[in-house]
């Protein structure tokens, strides 16, 4: 006899809605802010902290004066709010330093071109515009410092001719790259020694294009930070790669030189190197030479961050499995071929965060030039505060300068995170 089953459910019961405390806003709050006693206390403390800060900051910043003549006037109107008039009065100086006012369009244009020039490098979709990135450095130097257009473009002409000479040599006559390179190098040297000057003179007569010359000491503000920062970033990258390769090399002399250089630079503060640039460099160069202070600073900053870059890239190289080197060697690739096609793309990918951190560090370190009395934004801040009209002003200036740096550096770090996500090949 079978037992009689009274009831068998034919359909599944629809799931009941989750309790109200687990979903929606309340659920989110409970999970994220009030999941335990400790968390609740932390939440309350954080909210209190934020409210206190904003309570003071928002009225201070929102009600700020923008159009007074001096700090005194601000204080007379309302001492409790910000006096942004100093920015209204001096923003041009903060951006351009002592650059002649009627030439402000030149740094502005240079900056715009900079944005255009980095697009092909940052986003591979626009790589076909890479030619602009190549001509940009010359263009920037000409726009910023002025002088004859031809004396800058002759550098490009000379290098192009040298490259063409090299290419035609190996196409037609020579198989040996090394000899062709030496010959092309000699050709370029001869061009710059003997031909370039008369050619520039001739071109100046035929088609005189020139801008008024602006000396380096007039440069300042964010223009100076960007000049030093961008040049340092661009130049330190290849030098850093070479140093890293040199440090990994199995040629003892080259390895020793690279290790010595890297460890020395990393061992001393940038500020001592800048002092060397401003005080000592004249000892090391032939008597009577005296070259541009901005150039000296750029060289020192470049060498400094190249050493850090080298260590970052070395980390990337060390992170690669040894098999990659061996595999590329077994395919018959030469050293440089395997570096270019196999090793470097992977090593650089691993070291992107470090590389960008070095760039950010370099850009921040450009403020140190104020200590050897160049007029970068931080240096200008003390100049402005020394002015009788603005004596005693702090936060408005510092907040503005800090914000500018923050935007640049934060932008760079966001880009590096984007790049990391994009280049990620393993999930």
């Amino acid at each position: 006899m079978m037992t009689k089953i009274a009831f068998v459910r034919k359909k599944e019961i629809p799931p009941s809605a989750p309790p109200i405390t687990e979903v929606g806003l309340i659920g989110w709050l409970r999970q994220n802010l009030f999941s335990s006693w400790l968390n609740s206390i932390l939440t309350v403390l954080s909210v209190y902290f934020i409210v206190v800060i904003l309570w003071d900051f928002i009225p201070w910043a929102y009600g700020g004066h923008w159009n007074t003549k001096s700090l005194r006037e601000c204080l007379d109107l309302d001492p409790d709010v910000a006096c942004f008039s100093v920015l209204t009065a001096r923003w041009k100086q903060l951006l351009f330093g002592l650059y002649p006012a009627e030439e402000y369009w030149r740094p502005t244009l240079t900056f715009m071109f900079l944005l255009l020039a980095i697009v092909p490098i940052l986003f591979p979709r626009f790589f076909r515009f890479f030619w602009f990135s190549i001509i940009y450095p010359g263009l920037a130097v000409w726009l910023l410092w002025g002088g004859s257009f031809w004396s800058i473009s002759i550098v490009y002409i000379g290098l192009t001719l040298g490259a063409l000479f090299f290419l035609s040599l190996i196409r037609r006559y020579l198989k040996n790259y090394m000899v062709a390179a030496i010959l092309a190098f000699l050709f370029t040297v001869v061009f710059f020694l003997f031909i370039s000057n008369p050619l520039v003179g001739l071109l100046n007569v035929i088609l005189p294009i020139s801008l008024p010359f602006v000396e380096s000491l007039k440069m300042g503000g964010f223009t100076l930070s960007l000049i030093v920062g961008v040049t340092g970033i661009v130049a330190s990258f290849p030098i850093g790669i070479l140093l890293a390769l040199g440090r990994q090399s199995n040629l003892p002399v080259i390895k020793m030189i690279c290790v010595g250089f890297i460890e020395f630079i990393r061992g001393v503060p940038l500020i001592t190197l800048l002092f060397v640039a401003s005080v000592l460099l004249n000892y090391f160069l032939p008597p009577g030479t005296n070259f541009d202070i901005v150039l000296r600073v750029v060289i020192m900053v470049t060498l400094f961050s190249a050493a850090y870059m080298a260590e970052v890239i070395r980390g990337g190289l060390a992170g690669l499995p040894l098999g990659q080197h061996e595999a590329s060697a077994s395919l018959g690739l030469t050293y440089w071929q395997s570096q270019r096609l196999i090793i470097m793309p992977q090593a650089l990918k691993i070291s992107i965060p470090g590389i960008v951190n070095t760039f950010i560090g370099l850009f921040k370190d450009t403020t140190l030039v104020s200590i050897i009395s160049l007029r970068d934004p931080v240096g200008l801040a003390s100049t402005i505060r020394a002015d009788q009209k603005w004596n005693g002003i702090y936060w408005e200036l510092y907040v503005a300068i800090g914000l500018m740096f923050f935007i640049f550096c934060w932008g760079m770090s966001q880009y590096s995170q984007y790049l990391e996500r994009k280049l990620k090949t393993d999930k």
Partner: protein
């Protein structure tokens, strides 16, 4: 059987020096070495010529000459009659002081912020990222001048503490005064018998070390763990405390007090020192926080799950499983951040703190005109510190890294 035919042996040609792999490495090195030495000698030759033109020689005798300038903050006795060498030493100690205090504050703060950033609490995590991004993306020099401005402009002058109803009051039971000339703390005064107290304190620390060893051994042998932490705290605190009262309180505090327009007695920390140390510590703590976070995240989740399935409690999982593995990742970059902090302390000039760059590389350099020698010594000092620290990192890596193969 066919034997492999060898290529006909070539006679040596000059071009083989660069194209043959057997010689290329060597010849490249020789060329590099020659270029390097040529540049080196060119620089030395230029320097000699320049020095001759300026009628200067290279000598370090200036270190034994009278300095003739005062240093307002010093750890060792120094007057303006002391030598330049002494001034350099005062500077070195000042640099090391900032570095030491800064590193401690930065580590504590960085640990705190880094762990809180991993918190499941949304608002705390966001607040901590704001802290990190804010400090990391603004130049350290700007932070130093900002903290200095905060300390000098927004604190009361000493005379604000005067009178029956003063505008400002001292903190912590009338013991700490924050003024625009610096912060004054009570100073400990050692009376007779204080050394016994120190001795007792030292002995209890030794006792704790032995106790922890014993506890570890006990745990290994029997599997039972003792309440190590509470016993250690008790051993450190109570004997010293009892002795302190038994001997009639031989250590007392000397409180700062207002005299005229300034505070007297107590420990006086100048704003330059405070601004530099705090700014360096905040700035570095942002980097340390990221390192701590990365280190903890790098320990795979399976480790804590495995530990939990073995029946370990959460705090045991942290101390026995996660931390030892995370520390291996955290310590090397942590130490290199200490090094960065030490090097960044050379920005002391921005607030007028007399570190080694301010004395040896600043006033001494300007007074004696010995740029070359001063800079050499200065760089030598920083280089020595950094080599010392990096050799420590290497030692740590060698002894704690997992050996893979």
């Amino acid at each position: 059987m066919s034997s492999p035919t060898l290529p006909p042996s070539e006679s040596f040609k000059f071009s083989m020096l660069l194209s043959d792999t057997r010689y290329r490495g060597l010849s490249l090195q020789v060329i590099t070495f020659i270029i390097f030495m040529a540049v080196f000698f060119w620089l030395v030759d230029n320097t000699i010529k320049n020095l001759a033109l300026l009628d200067k020689d290279v000598s370090f005798n200036f270190l034994w000459l009278r300095a003739g300038y005062d240093i307002n903050q010093r750890l060792i006795p120094y007057t303006s009659d002391s030598t330049h060498g002494m001034a350099a030493l005062v500077g070195i100690l000042n640099t090391l002081l900032v570095a030491f205090v800064g590193c401690i504050i930065a580590t504590v703060l960085g640990l705190f912020v880094g762990i809180l950033r991993l918190s499941k609490n949304w608002i705390v995590a966001k607040l901590m990222s704001a802290y990190i991004e804010g400090f990391r993306n603004v130049p350290i020099l700007l932070w130093i001048v900002m903290v200095f401005a905060l300390l000098t402009e927004f604190t009361p002058a000493p005379r604000a503490f005067k009178g029956a109803e003063p505008e400002a009051t001292m903190l912590f039971f009338e013991s700490v005064a924050i003024t625009n000339r610096g912060t004054y703390f009570p100073a400990p005064v050692l009376a007779e018998g204080a050394y016994w107290l120190l001795l007792c304190f030292g002995l209890s620390i030794v006792a704790v070390i032995y106790f922890i060893r014993y506890a570890n051994k006990q745990k290994k042998d029997t599997g039972k763990s003792l309440p190590t932490f509470w016993i250690s705290v008790a051993v450190i605190i109570f004997p010293t405390l009892i002795l302190f009262f038994a001997m009639g309180q031989p250590v007392s505090l000397e409180y700062p007090y207002l005299k005229g327009f300034n505070f007297k007695d107590g420990i006086h920390l100048r704003n330059s020192f405070l601004a530099l140390t705090l700014a360096l510590a905040f700035y570095t703590s942002a980097f340390i926080a990221e390192i701590v976070r990365a280190g903890i995240m790098a320990v795979s989740k399976g480790q804590s799950e495995a530990a939990a399935s073995l029946g370990l409690r959460p705090n045991k999982i942290m101390s026995l499983i996660i931390l030892p593995q995370a520390l291996r990742i955290i310590v090397p970059p942590l130490i290199s951040n200490y090094l960065n902090l030490t090097k960044n302390s050379s920005l002391a000039i921005a607030v007028g703190y007399m570190d080694v760059r301010g004395t040896l590389g600043g006033i001494t350099l300007n007074q004696t005109g010995r740029e070359l020698e001063s800079m050499l010594l200065l760089m030598g000092f920083y280089l020595a510190v950094s080599l010392l620290i990096s050799s420590f990192i290497n030692y740590f890596n060698r002894s704690f890294q997992i050996v893979v193969r």
